[in-house]
């Protein structure tokens, strides 16, 4: 058993692990932090403002009032409808993802309050197979919509995802219309969706519920593109703009309503919830 050593004391730049920079090393400015330092700053680099990834549980803790979150549908697990096997069996990838994240799937849903405003939450976890959307993620999102409609509260979604989950094949593509229909049912019931898009929100999730929020909020520097920069570059050989697909570019082209730095996110979402609640 080795104790975690605070490398920031000895080195400004942490030594790379397996050739990759340490997850606590800022990819923008190279500053390195202890876990608790980063956590105290909501995983935002105090030096340069780079937004590090946030796990679903941390995100819920950052956004919601203490003790208000009650998880729902936590028992749902994916099976392997196609018997999918690439370099490894899908079932093995699922089991590993559950072990490393402590979550049953790439989305956590439940009821919560943000700045005393009740709401329904659907928060994605990128660490679970790249935050990919298969049947269980689609089902959880649909249930979150139904929960919001039943309770007459807004739904707040926080997305971080590579898109549809390839291992469930065409059934994953079917989660796009499924979540779209769920949002439309919520709208018919007079409900509200506030979509918070964190890095990255791409492909199948961007092309479904994440883009359908009444208000679309993005975190700074988040990649929000249907196709990622690498594929665009390889396919078209086009020279990509420096901010290709980023939140800032989307804002300039009119696809998001606001870019909100993480320290202001809770206040912003709380304010939106109040505005919508006051209008009811």
């Amino acid at each position: 058993m080795s104790e975690r050593i605070d490398v920031s004391i000895e080195h400004k730049h942490a030594p790379p692990e397996n050739g990759r920079p340490h997850p606590n090393t800022c990819p923008t400015c190279g500053s390195h932090y202890r876990h608790d330092e980063l956590a105290a700053h909501l995983n935002v680099c105090p030096q340069c403002g780079h937004h590090f990834p946030v796990h679903a549980r941390e995100r819920i803790a950052q956004l919601t009032d203490d003790g208000s979150f009650v998880e729902e549908a936590a028992e749902l697990r994916s099976d392997d409808p196609l018997g999918f096997f690439d370099l490894r069996p899908y079932t093995e990838r699922l089991a590993e993802a559950e072990l490393t994240t402590g979550l049953g799937e790439a989305m956590v849903i439940g009821r919560a309050a943000i700045e005393q405003e009740p709401c329904q939450l659907a928060v994605m976890e990128f660490g679970f197979m790249g935050g990919s959307m298969g049947r269980v993620v689609g089902e959880k999102f649909a249930r979150a919509c139904e929960g919001a409609a039943e309770r007459g509260v807004p739904l707040v979604s926080v997305t971080t995802t590579g898109g549809a989950r390839m291992q469930e094949g065409i059934l994953s593509l079917m989660q796009l219309p499924k979540t779209v229909c769920a949002v439309e049912d919520l709208r018919d019931a007079g409900g509200t969706l506030i979509s918070v898009m964190a890095h990255p929100t791409t492909a199948g999730v961007l092309a479904s519920f994440a883009s359908l929020g009444d208000v679309l909020v993005a975190e700074p520097g988040a990649l929000l593109s249907f196709t990622g920069p690498r594929v665009v570059q390889q396919t078209t050989r086009e020279k990509l703009p420096e901010d290709f697909g980023l939140a800032e570019s989307n804002y300039r082209h009119g696809h998001v309503d606001a870019i909100v730095p993480r320290p202001e996110l809770r206040g912003t979402v709380g304010r939106l919830l109040r505005i919508f609640a006051d209008g009811r």
Binding site: L82, I170, S172, L176, C181, F209, T236
Partner: protein, 314 residues
């Protein structure tokens, strides 16, 4: 054992699906023999080679495209151009026409036949402007109570800088949202490649059909291979793993029926393929006749809410 239970479930699902849409198709199109062969194909697990054959046929350069079917199936076709906002996308066509006695609106992806047309139509890969045009046509259908037909044949949404700057993700999402709100009958047929988000953008329908040799995929086999195998050359393995052929899509409940093609594929007989597609579209429209708009829309949403139901809680 879980494996056996799963098999049982699939078998009962299969027999249920088999008894409904295929037999009805047989009655109408008189293609019993061919359908029997399809049934055999579904029950006997297709080999990796057969699945790859579907991929090749779906992409066959002589395969009929949307406008080939329009020419053979519709009278008084009037093509609509542009999203009336920003541009006209030749990769997606939309228009009005008469189909077997009724006025319909049709939207469809359109590939090109020769190099020049392929370039002009961007190999059938739509830009957000294309979905904009489709949405305009859908709204027209809704206003006038015309049924909507959509033919899907797209390798995938276009991976380009401008497409992203024009809001590709949002356009695909909004097109689906609009389809989920329509009060008119909507029938979709995948006639070639049903590639990913670009396909589902115009496929949120009451009845979803697929031609015998079409494919319907979450990502192109090459894309999947590049990500999971880290080698686009492993596309055959990827296709075999994610099973994009019509038989599997029917078995999974993603589509409602398979539309037969002339032997050995639609590319050899455009007239025959159009006749069989026309019969299937007509049959689907007749199934939806007389269903009130609110009910159509409710059932359409239920259809997509329940596809690929999640396994029971452990």
């Amino acid at each position: 054992m879980a494996g056996e239970a799963e098999q049982l479930r699939l078998r009962s699902q299969l027999s249920r699906l088999r008894s409904l849409p295929l037999l009805r198709g047989a009655k109408l199109s008189g293609e019993l023999e061919r359908l029997q062969k399809q049934l055999d194909r579904i029950t006997s697990e297709p080999s990796d080679e057969e699945i790859w054959r579907s991929v090749e046929l779906a992409r066959h350069p002589e395969r009929p495209y949307t406008l080939d079917y329009v020419e053979r199936l519709l009278d008084d076709w009037f093509e609509l151009h542009g999203d009336h906002h920003h541009g006209d996308d030749a990769a997606l066509v939309a228009g009005l026409g008469r189909f077997r006695g009724r006025t319909i609106v049709l939207v469809g992806n359109q590939k090109g036949r020769d190099v020049k047309e392929r370039t002009r139509r961007n190999f059938g890969m739509a830009y957000p402007e294309g979905y904009g045009k489709a949405m305009r046509a859908m709204e027209l259908a809704e206003r006038h109570g015309f049924p909507l037909l959509s033919l899907v044949d797209i390798p995938g949404a276009y991976p380009g800088v401008t497409a992203e700057q024009h809001g590709q993700g949002g356009a695909i999402a909004r097109s689906q949202a609009l389809m989920s709100r329509l009060h008119v009958p909507v029938v979709t047929c995948v006639i070639g490649e049903g590639g990913s988000g670009g396909a589902i953008a115009t496929a949120l329908a009451d009845r979803v059909l697929m031609q015998e040799n079409a494919i319907y995929t979450v990502i192109s086999p090459e894309g999947c291979a590049a990500i999971l195998w880290r080698d686009a050359g492993e596309a055959r393995k990827a296709a075999a793993a994610f099973k994009p052929d019509a038989g599997h899509c029917l078995e999974l409940g993603v589509i409602d029926a398979i539309v037969p093609e002339p032997e050995p594929g639609a590319h050899t007989d455009h007239e025959g393929a159009a006749r069989l597609l026309g019969d299937a579209l007509q049959e689907s429209l007749e199934l939806l006749d007389g269903v009130p708009g609110d009910e159509l829309r409710r059932q359409r949403r239920v259809r997509f809410r329940t596809i690929g139901a999640v396994p029971a809680t452990r």
